[in-house]
């Protein structure tokens, strides 16, 4: 657990370090955006704290998500690092529409899901931890250009490493079945 959380934090910290040439060191680690998201791979709702870099081309968020047991019969907690890169931006008068892609590294905490399997399992019985996953995503966001410190709205399609492996192993899996939709809002406070 400690190892997984450490890995996620390192991922969150290293991504901005590698691209934050324009920012001085006092800005480093100071978040400039908060996002709230519905659905996706993070739970019923999630909140994230993050930064934008390289003229807002790159973003990195530390995300906490939660799915209560009352919704689908089981409780799932998530801690994730979500990194995105802009693919294309279209400006229309006072608004901009941005398309982006990225990947989230997600730690799941739920029943019978392990980062290290209990000792009664023989060594290498399972090759991978079941609690840590990569989740590729593509998304679009809508923002008023004048609102440097305002709100942006986004929607995303995301999938999971498991499902991509299954898709590449099997012709019978529909590619569109791998993806799920989510949407949310970001508050920028530069």
């Amino acid at each position: 657990m400690i190892l997984i959380v450490s890995l996620l934090l390192i991922g969150f910290l290293c991504f901005p370090v590698s691209v934050s040439a324009q920012k001085n060191h006092t800005d480093y680690l100071r978040p400039d955006a908060i996002e709230i998201q519905y659905a996706g791979n993070y739970g019923l709702m999630s909140v994230g704290l993050g930064q934008e870099f390289c003229k807002d081309i790159l973003t990195s968020y530390l995300v906490l998500g939660y799915l209560p047991k009352a919704v689908n019969g089981t409780e799932v907690k998530t801690l994730a690092v979500k990194n995105t890169v802009e693919m294309k931006q279209f400006d229309f008068r006072k608004t901009s529409l941005k398309f982006y892609t990225g990947v989230s590294l997600i730690y799941y905490r739920t029943h019978n899901t392990y980062s290290r399997f209990p000792k009664y399992f023989p060594k290498s019985y399972y090759d991978f931890p079941t609690s840590l996953h990569a989740a590729p995503l593509i998304g679009t966001s809508f923002r008023r250009n004048s609102d440097k410190n305002g709100f942006a709205f986004f929607s995303e399609l995301s999938t999971l490493d498991y499902y991509l492996v299954d898709f590449f192993r099997n012709r019978s899996i529909n590619f569109l079945d791998l993806w799920n939709l989510s949407f949310g809002m970001v508050w920028h406070f530069d």
Partner: protein
């Protein structure tokens, strides 16, 4: 391009919003109970030979599973199909859904039992919602078919419900047993294996069929012949016949 992808997604995607790959977003479906009811609605005489097919460990080999079901569909005389567990790799609800979409194409009733991989994350709950109890039995053609959940490690290292097994086997004259993990294999070896052997020898069980080990194994017994069958990846399934309280099993390629 993104817009085109999005519109195709909206029209074809089965789960538009998903909260987590590990949730149990399924309504109760009782698929095993429905299959058993379909099977029992077809009449069978006491002395008729009962033919059925057994597959095991499809995991995420959906193409192979689809081919197996297609091949079994062509066989006349087969009454039902049993899947001996491990229908998923990681116990996620989507893996269960993809398995279900394929077995729905079977012309024979398919009865599915749980495997150790299906227990991972919230798979046990998803299995119960989709298929029903993990220990169950039914009667058909004068035989009692018993499905025993013998997963140990993925079930929090707990002991399988041997009392349930003993009660289920002792109530019938002639039994056929299915379990995912062979009595002699990793999770069952030792004390549990002895308990299993004791129960098998004290009841009339004409055959026991397992999965899990991904290769064919046969253990002849004084009372009970035990088989572990190949996984779906080996592109073969077991064809089993029951006649005069005797079970024969043959692996067929497809």
């Amino acid at each position: 391009m993104f817009i085109a992808f999005l519109s195709s997604f909206f029209t074809s995607c089965t789960n538009l919003f998903s909260y987590s790959p590990f949730d149990a977003d399924l309504k109760t479906q009782h698929l095993n109970a429905k299959s058993i009811a379909t099977l029992q609605s077809a009449s069978v005489a006491e002395n008729d030979t009962v033919w059925f097919a057994v597959i095991s460990d499809p995991h995420n080999n959906y193409d192979d599973l689809k081919d197996a079901i297609t091949s079994i569909n062509r066989m006349e005389g087969v009454r039902f199909v049993v899947c001996c567990g491990d229908i998923t790799n990681w116990g996620t609800a989507d893996e269960f859904r993809w398995y279900k979409e394929i077995i729905e194409k079977s012309v024979h009733p398919v009865i599915t039992m749980i495997g150790n991989h299906d227990y991972l994350s919230n798979g046990h709950l998803v299995f119960q919602r989709m298929f029903g109890d993990t220990n169950f039995s039914f009667s058909y053609g004068g035989y009692n078919f018993v499905f025993f959940d013998d997963v140990v490690w993925e079930d929090n290292n707990s002991m399988p419900d041997f009392d349930w097994l003993q009660n289920s086997l002792s109530t019938a004259k002639t039994n056929v047993l299915f379990a995912h993990i062979p009595a002699w294999s990793d999770q069952m070896a030792g004390v549990f294996e002895q308990r299993m052997d004791s129960i098998l020898s004290s009841n009339r069980v004409v055959g026991a069929i397992y999965g899990h080990d991904h290769g064919f194994q046969y253990v002849a017994g004084a009372e009970t012949d035990q088989y572990a069958i190949n996984d779906i990846d080996d592109r073969c399934f077991a064809l089993v016949s029951l006649c005069d309280s005797k079970m024969t099993l043959k692996m067929l390629d497809y």
